[in-house]
Amino acid sequence: MNELLGFISSNLQIIYIVILSIFVGIEVIKSIPAVLHTPLMSGANALSGVVIVGAILVMLHSNPTDYVALTLGFIAVVLGVLNVVGGFAVTNRMLDMFKKKK
């Protein structure tokens, strides 16, 4: 119990941020037309590629002789970039198709 309270008190800021972010996410997405579900899902998918920031941090902190960490970090960066670039590009392409109809 004490450990749990200790965890909460030392991470209070993060807990606030998480809870507020959850509500922001809900509010931002509420009541969108079904037409946009596919592009939105694809766009949100690209955003989840933010994990790339962590992958870059792994590489920056790696010891240049630690080949395992470097290799895993390298793969993580490649996959993260795939998620980000592919996600945004494909969302853009989808939305382009809507646009020229206007």
Partner: protein, 462 residues
Amino acid sequence: MDIILSIVYLIATVTFIVGLKKLGHPDTAKSGNLIAAGGMGFAIVGTIFIHDLEVPTLIYVLIGVAILVGSIIGGLIAVKVEMTKMPELVSLFNGFGGASAALIGIVEYGNADIKGISAAIITTILSAIIIGAITFSGSLIAWGKLNGTVKSVVKIPQYNIVNNVFFIAIVALGTYVVIGSIDSQILLYALLVGGLVYGILFVLPIGGADMPVVISLLNSLTGIAAAITGVLYDNMVMLVGGILVGSAGIILTVAMCKAMNRTLASVIFGSFTANASVEGVNKTLGSIKSTTASDSAIMMNYASNVVIVPGYGLAVAQAQHVIHELEELLTQKGVNVKYAIHPVAGRMPGHMNVLLAESNVEYNMLVEMDDINPQFNNTDVVLVVGANDVVNPAAHNDPASPIYGMPILDVENAKHIIVNKRSMKAGYAGIENELFYNSKTAMLFGDAKDTLTDLVAELKNM
């Protein structure tokens, strides 16, 4: 230095929120996507260059190469892929994000002094690995199911129990590692493999029709994995970005379920593939009537109102361009043509709109379900192309049907119904459709593209 990077992250976080908000409105969606992409680029560049670490050039080169390789491959896939393959692609990209999170967790576990750090940090690392692994393998299975590589629908009795027990076992093992502060590569890999296997078990039994919901859910999970990794590095852009995707993804998942009148629980636990009610419906089906392209062409030529109901079959046959040709031809002949778009037509909500937009169909010809349904009474001919479950009257009349209660297009109110299908095979939900046995319905069998091409040729000769 630190404060500058924090400001970069702050700006990026704001662009994510603004971008997501704008993505929700048709007029601003494109700029929303670009704003979020810009913010992401800003955060990535900031992370690479703004810090006080002494980083050897080699590592910068490696990061540069990794980003280049990922951008080229990702960009190429995004540009080349056919629009019909969109759901698969989102799923695949999502899996990559999950894998990235799992890899970060593995490296950090290796780097960390497991005996010396707090239980909270070990929990964070392990959660990143497990959730990342689940989203990776789950997304790959979803991808395989959508493109037809993974077909098997597993029917193990008490599947859900097996599944849940497996998940509890993973959590228990993770808890054991955390509480005992155990530094064991073997247990780490056991958790990784456990996550991968659970991802497969989780997605495998879920029916293809529900796959978009699953992808949306997995997408949300990747967001959560990213947020957890953010906690690990005390990194605000990852934390907020990940949580945003996580909560928005859940809302989107629920919205999709609503469009199909299903609950999230029934998607996850009650696979749609059941053949439960087939026997119930079969008894009163009667006989079907088939027709030819020329008869159908005559019927549409002399109609004043025609409504086209496109389904995924149209997309699979790549017939979205031919259907546009048909619609233009009919319009030239003075027929009033509209498309009736069911919210879940295609393989994802809004997917059909994207496909038809790609073939240059006028945006205002696409009419949404609630607006078109009252108009079917005045419709002379409905042409159903490759759609099945979304026009199945069982959703209204058969409480035993798995799709009972799903909102459908009320095409049976029209004067004549022409249904183009390849065969009498049941639709994605695996259930019979009494519409095909309706006395007003004529079946036009054949591949959607070939049949529509024939229809266009017949109409041109009139």
